[in-house]
Every structure is written in structure tokens, then in C-alpha cells.
């Protein structure tokens, strides 16, 4: 049982929740850029929430599905279709074997996630299946997918059996069938609309000029085309230090906003390096990194200041939300 890549899309790679425990060796975390969408796609097909799946970017792939399978697509809308018919997202979908799953243009968001019941057959490297593109390890042969790749799939989890049985009965001559129930899709930006991203101030915030500190929260920043899985380079008002700062490299985190000498901030994402030597002006709340991951180059970000207590509350609330959604999905499946 496998999925074959007919067209690879712009950047399609295997990702899970990331490679933890090895940053002290200089090994980056990697993992899905939008972890919220990744976790829900997995839960919708009865997988563990951190199972590896396909992350697709801006222009999606064309995939040939060998046999009948249960899938779920979440994240940005890359117009998934089979035989020209749109496939609904944020819900389980049962697909007939031999179908070609086509992703096309990006309608909203930036990254889409495709989970299959049981997961993809991918070996773990350093405790994770995520692709570490630069080091050429993990994922599918350590690289993004290319035409002709064929990825084996694992047997589905028992929890999905009953749902599969009921969908199978309704499949008839259709090429796919989905449940009537679905998860509420999070708000996602279209094109260059502005997104608000909540941040706490960074450890060098105080060293910036009063003007720069004000502009950080008052002016929108544009995501430039020099943005990738490592980080987003932003353009807007040039952020300046009151005086040059002597810094030695220290750890950076997911969502760290650092400012190199040119004054254009960089928001660090999944493939960030482990350490950095630029001043940190702010830190995106972990929950809002999923929002950032869905902003395309050209999109605008407005930063909103929150306290550390609020960032922690958001984190705890998000975990509770996913736990509850997981329980609700299990109930629907049984």
C-alpha cells in the first residue's frame, strides 16, 4: 500500500512534531510549521497527534493513491480535488484506490497537511521522522519529495475501523466520501491581508530606541520573499538599537524575533538554527506560530504585546482545546 508522487509541488516534505533533545548537539528541531494543523490532521484519521505526515507548501503535489484509504487535510487551502471535485478539509475523507489526489493553487494560508490513517512508513532518525533538509537526514530519504517517489503506508489504527466501514458503505461509485461532521477551521489569511501575532518582549527589547519599540507594535511588517522554513525575514520600519550591543551567541527558540544589524527583523521558525547572536526584540507566543506559518510572502503581520502570563494562558488553553477535540473525534469515530 503506497502513495506515489506524480508531481511534487513546490516543497512537499515529511514532518512530525520535531526532533527534540538534540539541540545541544547543534541538531535543529525541524517539524511541521503549523503544529496545530498537523496535530488535528492526525487526530482526524485516528493517529497519534504527533505522527509524521506530508507538509505541502503554496503549490501542492499530485499524488496517486494505490488502495482505498482514510485521509484528512488541514492547514492552508491548496485546493485539493479528485477528478475536479473539491475535497472538503478539516474532516476525515475516505478515498477510493487508484484516485489521483490533486493539490493546486493556494486559496488561503500557505501550508497544507495530509495525514493518512496509520501514517507513512518512515524510519525515525534521532527520535523523529521529520525531514532535516539541510543535513539530508530524516523524512523520506532526507529530502523533499520528487516525482516518482513512492511512500509506503502503515496499517490504520483500530480506532478508525468503524468510521471506515460506515464511509465505505456510502462510497458507492464516488471516488471519495467524507463525514458530515468536521472541525471548525481556524481563521486563515487570504493573500496580503494583515494578521495579528501576539508577542512577549524579548531580552534585548530595552536596548532598542524608543521609536523602534513603538514602531514594533504600531506598524505592520511585511513577510518578504526571503522567507522559508528557517525563518521569515520581515520588512517594515528599520529597528535600531540605542547603541551597538556586544552579544555572544546564545539559544534562540521557535518564534524568536531577532534583529540583525540591517534593522530588518527575522522571525525564527521550525528549521531555525539552535543559537544566534543577534539581539532579540520579541518572542511570538507559541500558539501564534501556527498563524505565522500560514502567512505567505507578501502578507502583513501586526505584532501585539502580551504579558508572559497571557502567553502561558494561551499555551495551556491551546493544549486543553486539542485534548478536547481529540476526545470529541474519538467519540465520533466509535
Amino acid at each position: 500500500m503506497s502513495i506515489t508522487v506524480l508531481r511534487p509541488g513546490l516543497l512537499t516534505s515529511i514532518q512530525d512534531l520535531g526532533r527534540y533533545g538534540y539541540q545541544k548537539y547543534g541538531v535543529i528541531v525541524s517539524g511541521g510549521m503549523d503544529s496545530y494543523a498537523l496535530r488535528l490532521a492526525n487526530l482526524l484519521v485516528g493517529n497519534e497527534e504527533g505522527e509524521a505526515l506530508l507538509e505541502m507548501t503554496l503549490m501542492g503535489p499530485w499524488l496517486l493513491v494505490e488502495k482505498d484509504i482514510l485521509i484528512a487535510i488541514t492547514g492552508g487551502d491548496l485546493s485539493p480535488t479528485i477528478n475536479g471535485e473539491s475535497i472538503p478539509m478539516w474532516r476525515p475523507v475516505y478515498i477510493k484506490g487508484g484516485s489521483i489526489l490533486q493539490f493546486g493553487a493556494c486559496m488561503s494560508g500557505c501550508r497544507s497537511y495530509l495525514a493518512v490513517a496509520g501514517g507513512y512508513e518512515i524510519p525515525e532518525v534521532m527520535g523523529s521522522k521529520s525531514t532535516y533538509l539541510r543535513a539530508g537526514i530524516g523524512g523520506f530519504q532526507g529530502r523533499a519529495l520528487v516525482q516518482g517517489d513512492s511512500i509506503e503506508l502503515r496499517a490504520p489504527q483500530e480506532i478508525s475501523f468503524r468510521l471506515v466501514e460506515s464511509l465505505k458503505k456510502r462510497l458507492l461509485s464516488h471516488s471519495f466520501i467524507s463525514t458530515s461532521w468536521h472541525i471548525k477551521k481556524p481563521l486563515m489569511t487570504r493573500n496580503s491581508k494583515q494578521s495579528t501575532v501576539r508577542v512577549t518582549t524579548g531580552s534585548q527589547f530595552e536596548y532598542f530606541t524608543p521609536e523602534s519599540k513603538k514602531q514594533l507594535f504600531q506598524c505592520p511588517f511585511r513577510v518578504t520573499t526571503q522567507s522559508d522554513r528557517m525563518g521569515y525575514r520581515l520588512s517594515g520600519p528599520v529597528l535600531q538599537l540605542e547603541e551597538p550591543l556586544e552579544m555572544v551567541s546564545e539559544a534562540v527558540a521557535l518564534g524568536t524575533i531577532q534583529v540583525p544589524p540591517d534593522g530588518n527583523p527575522i522571525l525564527l521558525l521550525a528549521d531555525r538554527q539552535t543559537v544566534g547572536g543577534y539581539p532579540k526584540i520579541a518572542q511570538a507566543a507559541t500558539v501564534d506560530v501556527s498563524i505565522v506559518a500560514q502567512i505567505k510572502p507578501g502578507g502583513l503581520i501586526l505584532f501585539q504585546e502580551i504579558s508572559l502570563a497571557e502567553a502561558e494562558q494561551l499555551y495551556v488553553a491551546r493544549e486543553t482545546e486539542i485534548e478536547n477535540l481529540g476526545i470529541a473525534i474519538q467519540l465520533k469515530m466509535s
Binding site: Y20, G21, Y22, Q23, K24, Y25, G26, V27, I28, V125, M126, R134, A135, G136, I137, T200, S203, E246, V248, S249, E250, A251, V252, A253, L254, G255, T256, Q273, T274, V275, K280, Q283, A284, A285, T286, L308, A309, A311, E312, L314, Y315, V316, E319
Partner: protein, 251 residues
């Protein structure tokens, strides 16, 4: 530089790095005495991870602990008290307690890792430039580079890439004006007062003086890198023939 107190507690500062990481600074700048505190603290974390800890990163003068705020709060015996406290506050008290208890700490005996290097030739295209720049012979440059003891302050930039201190200023050379598009794995280079080894092929502007047949990044081993923060490095000159033999043995 003025005397640095050996007490882990002195000059120690903590700041949050978002809601799920805490950065602990043991001083400012790059200095073996400050790094000694980093190593003592991480050795403690290796044996006794703090509650909710996912992992840590050791750097020149700081240690950052990444944690799950929910697990940190759950770890507190007094749930009512924990409810009103941020996970950051809980962890900073725990860290302070550990650091006070560690006092001046017990000196860590560094591992000395020998790295064989084939200097010059096709592996060290910039060796001659480094010699010219410092008005020395090629043999002198090799002799100076190979006689040093280097402290690994930090691993970063690439998997297993060591940031080391201790290179003699007699062979210090600025970076190349135009960086190379790709530098082979194992390349040994000099950039200013720094020296280092590239674990994976990457673009870079370092002056290349040689290459090691040793693999610095070993994704299938645990730990996955030859070097760790706190190690000492010695470079041992080998011939081209020995380099090839070493490579051959590993196949």
C-alpha cells in the same frame, strides 16, 4: 580581564525566552571561567533534569532550558500555590536553588578529543595564504595550529559544529572576501581568532587549512556528534596517505 568569581551564583541572571524556555546567564563574554559554570550546570541537568524539561542548549556563557509549562505546573506538590505561579517563576526558583547548592561546583575534567588533520594540498587551499598573511612558513602554521589545546564553548550553526576558543593569534586570519559556495564536510578552517571543523557540507567564508577524515556528525549514533560543549580538542597532523587509510577503514 578582572578576576571572575568561581561561584555559580555570582553574576547569574535569568530571563524568559517566551512561555516555554528560560535563559540562564552566568556572566558576559567568552571566557573559560564563565564556560566552566555552564558545564557544571549542564552536567547537573544531565543527571537531574528539572521538572517539565524537554531539553537544554549550552552556549558560551548561558544555558537555556526548554520546558512544557503544563508539566512544570503539574510537578508542584502544592497545586493551589502552583495555580497562581507562572511556570517560569516555578522554574526560576528551582534553578536558583540548584545553583546555590552547586556553590563553586566540582571541576569537570574535560574529555580531550584528538582530531587527525591532513593539512594543506587540495584539502587546505588557503594554508599558503594563512602563512603569507602571518609572515610564517606553512610548516610553522601547521605546528602552531596542531600544538594548541582548544576548548569547545558551544555546538551550533550546524550539527556537531564546534565553536572553539584558544587559537594562537600568530595564525589568526580574516575570513575570505568571497565565501565558497560549498565547503566539504571535515574541512578545518580559520576565521579571525576562531578555528573549527565543518561537520556537513555548507557554504562558508573560512580560510581552509586542512581536512579531517573523522566524521563529526553521526546521525545514527548516540550522542550524534563527535564533540560536545566542554570538550578539549587537539589537532594531530596526518599525511595524505594516512587520511586515505583512515577513510578506507571506515568504509
Amino acid at each position: 580581564m578582572s578576576q571572575i568569581s568561581t561561584d555559580l551564583e555570582s553574576n547569574m541572571e535569568m530571563v524568559p525566552l517566551g512561555e516555554s524556555a528560560i535563559l540562564i546567564k552566568f556572566g558576559k563574554g567568552i571566557h573559560p571561567e564563565i564556560h566552566r559554570k555552564v558545564t557544571i550546570f549542564t552536567a547537573h541537568l544531565d543527571r537531574y533534569p528539572v521538572p517539565g524539561m524537554i531539553e537544554y542548549i549550552a552556549a558560551f556563557s548561558s544555558v537555556t532550558i526548554f520546558y512544557d509549562p503544563i508539566q512544570v505546573k503539574k510537578s508542584q506538590a502544592d497545586a493551589v500555590l502552583a495555580k497562581d505561579q507562572l511556570s517560569y517563576q516555578i522554574l526560576s526558583s528551582i534553578v536558583t536553588e540548584i545553583i546555590v547548592k552547586l556553590g563553586t561546583g566540582v571541576d569537570h575534567i574535560p574529555r580531550v578529543v584528538e582530531i587527525p588533520v591532513c593539512y594543506g594540498g587540495e584539502f587546505g587551499p588557503d594554508l599558503e595564504y594563512v602563512a603569507q598573511y602571518n609572515k610564517r612558513t606553512i610548516d610553522e602554521v601547521i605546528e602552531i595550529h596542531a600544538s594548541g589545546q582548544y576548548l569547545v564553548y558551544m555546538i551550533g550553526f550546524a550539527p556537531g559544529f564546534p565553536y572553539v576558543g584558544g587559537m594562537s593569534e600568530k595564525i589568526s586570519t580574516p575570513r575570505r572576501k568571497s565565501p565558497r559556495m560549498s565547503i566539504a564536510a571535515g574541512s578545518v578552517g580559520i576565521a579571525g581568532m576562531q578555528t573549527g571543523v565543518y561537520p556537513i557540507a555548507t557554504p562558508g567564508g573560512w580560510q581552509l587549512i586542512g581536512r579531517t577524515p573523522v566524521q563529526l556528525f553521526r546521525p545514527n549514533d548516540n550522542p550524534p556528534t563527535l564533540l560536545q560543549s566542554g570538550d578539549m580538542i587537539r589537532f594531530c597532523p596526518i599525511s595524505h596517505k594516512e587520511y586515505e587509510e583512515y577513510k578506507g577503514e571506515r568504509q
